[in-house]
């Protein structure tokens, strides 16, 4: 039971990270109707920028960890958001009214560009960081000496996810920008006729998605203590799996799907085999789509002729 509780905690933490990335996918899909294949690599870039800015801040002589973390968070969110904006501007906007496959291929190309850009600029080796946030709590002392641990990093990841999600929900449901985004999602032409700046709204969607991915990247860095140039691909596919699982286009669905994928992966590696954890996650995706083609919370697509 203690083992189960421990895995539950681990799974929820991993799921939070996947959920944050998945929101970026689902938002872009909801508005533009394309799979932003480069989104996983945006997450990777976010991790790298967090790492580099952390390094610079420490060597500048800052010692207060909370201050450093806050600055790192803001810097990586800002720069990664600019990456999102630039990519949309260069690779997706010219293709917005093109045929369906074109933006997708452009996105795959952009994903290669980002992966190899960071490989060329930062080297191919894994970049480890020493644990920044240490300590934690022992929740339960098991009979066989197995203790359920809840580390401070895990608390921070989950708390940060909740805060970011609350902010994001407020943004989508209460602000002008959120209203514009929902309007564009429903009908771009009509939204444009009613005075919504569609181009700007779509740009902002990419910016927000990238900022959320940057948060996820930084959490990944803190939690696992390493980044490398290839981590965006697998994380990206899994986050997309999470978005599809939750019902693509649905924001709570993305978070739910992220948690589900995180839990499935953790429990599978805990009880069955570590090697096949990704196979398990992808198989679940296929099984879910067979029985619920629109995902867990997705609305069925009404087909009009």
């Amino acid at each position: 039971m203690a083992y189960f509780a421990q895995q539950l905690i681990n799974g929820l933490v991993l799921g939070s990270i996947y959920g944050l990335i998945a929101i970026g996918y689902t938002m872009v899909y909801g508005i533009v109707g394309m799979i932003n294949f480069a989104h996983g690599d945006i997450f990777m870039i976010g991790g790298f920028i967090a790492l580099i800015s952390f390094l610079v801040l420490v060597s500048l002589g800052l010692t207060a960890i909370p201050v450093i973390l806050l600055i790192v968070l803001l810097v990586s969110m800002a720069i990664t958001a600019l990456y999102g904006w630039t990519i949309e501007r260069i690779a997706y906007r010219p293709l917005r009214h093109s045929f369906r496959l074109a933006p997708m291929l452009s996105a795959i190309g952009m994903s290669f560009v980002l992966t190899n850009f960071s490989q060329v600029s930062q080297g191919a080796r894994v970049k480890p960081v020493p644990p920044i946030i240490t300590g934690g709590y022992t929740l339960h002392e098991g009979a066989q000496g197995f203790a359920v641990q809840l580390s401070n990093v895990q608390i921070m990841v989950v708390l940060a996810t909740i805060v970011v999600l609350a902010l994001f929900t407020w943004l989508v449901s209460r602000t002008r920008l959120g209203r514009d985004m929902r309007a564009c999602e429903q009908d771009q032409t009509m939204a444009a006729l009613l005075g919504v700046d569609v181009d700007r709204t779509i740009s902002m969607t990419f910016v927000i998605g990238a900022a959320l991915a940057a948060v996820a990247g930084m959490m990944y860095l803190l939690y696992y203590g390493l980044v490398d140039f290839f981590m965006g691909f697998v994380a990206g596919i899994k986050a997309f799996t999470a978005a599809v699982l939750g019902g693509i286009g649905s924001l709570p669905g993305a978070m739910l799907g992220g948690l589900a994928i995180g839990l499935i992966e953790t429990f599978w590696s805990a009880y069955f085999s570590v090697e096949y954890k990704d196979v398990a996650a992808f198989s679940i995706l296929i099984v879910v789509l067979i029985f619920m083609p629109t995902g867990l919370l997705g609305r069925p697509e009404v087909e009009k002729v």
Binding site: Y29, A102, V113, S121, I248, L285, L289
Partner: protein, 441 residues
Amino acid sequence: MSATSARPSPAAQPSGSAFILKKALISALVALVLFSLMIGIRTEAGPQGGLIYWTRFGDLAALVGTVFGGSIIVELLRQWWGPVDKDSIVPKPVQSAISFAGRWLAPALLVFAFLVPVIFYNQRYILDLSILVLTYVMLGWGLNVVVGLAGLLDLGYVAFYAVGAYSYALLATNFGLSFWVCLPLAGILAAFWGVLLGFPVLRLRGDYLAIVTLAFGEIIRLVIINWQSLTGGPNGVSGIPRPTMFGIPLTPGDDGLAAKLGIEFSPTHRLVFLFYLILAMALLTNWVTIRLRRLPIGRAWEALREDEVACRALGINTTTTKLTAFATGAMFGGFAGAFFATRQGFISPESFTFQESALVLAIVVLGGMGSQLGVALAALTMIGGFELFRGLDQYRMLVFGIAMVLLMIWRPRGLIGHRAPTVYLERNQAISSDLVKEGHG
């Protein structure tokens, strides 16, 4: 045609040096922020395990300067060129000349392909490269059945390639079966996996399908990596037998082909044989595809691509139609995989990554989705271009990615930019191709 009205028309855009400078400055500023940390600071794991870093502000300045200059040049070119219009750039006589050349291009290419081993007999590198190009032509034509004809977006095509390669490798190394026995088996097994994948995805549409095929490709790769007792895991399978010419091995021994024909043995014989083998296999793929397009099943594929709802209304069984498309495409992928295994003599999961799938898909899309000649030309361009940049080593994939993005922006519908329908009205309707949008799904 949504939201185009919200954008200012190109003619209304301001011009003049102040505008250009402003735009270039903004680009340079964006580049500065983007690259400030990624280029300006280089991190590396230090000798004691910690991280060290050093600055590269010179590189950063050079890159930002390049963006500034490049932005000015691009903007100047754009204003000088005016709004892009194909008819104004390419004059009418040149257009007709191109279409005339287009008619003779395919036969000319075919004749050239047959003559390649004769012309380049002594250049091993070119022979190797042309075998590689032909492998991708075959993969492209195979995927074309799924993506170009049936309109089903498949991001995991490399899985069938892997199934074919491993089928041959394992059957040949474990049971000693010959290449010619294994080739159909590899195709059948790959087709079987295609049907297996086809079943769950039947009800899915568009992008859901893309992600499931991608997941399927990853599953196959992960299983190959982890099922060590069967596949050798990351170490792969080595010692895969070379193909024989219908039982006659291409070896220097007494029973080899060279000895039988009474000519001197040369290792090039095997290359030439492999070349004609893959050429024949690719042409078979092409021929089967062209024939299938004229059969009811091919017509059903194309109808499915255009409009699935209409298909169902007309009584076409979409289930079997999709399954046959998947199975046919997968079968050709399996053939190509078996060939790949016998050519390399060694296979490992490294050869079957998502990048391969993306490359083949890029070939099909650049080739114009459904155009056989386009796919062949795109394969030639892509693989040839890839080889040109071999010296750049780690920059190669970067260049490939940039090229993919630029090509998509420049020609979103591919190099040969139209899908020729098999059935059409005698008199063309006055609808330009850019008004015809992809049907949903």
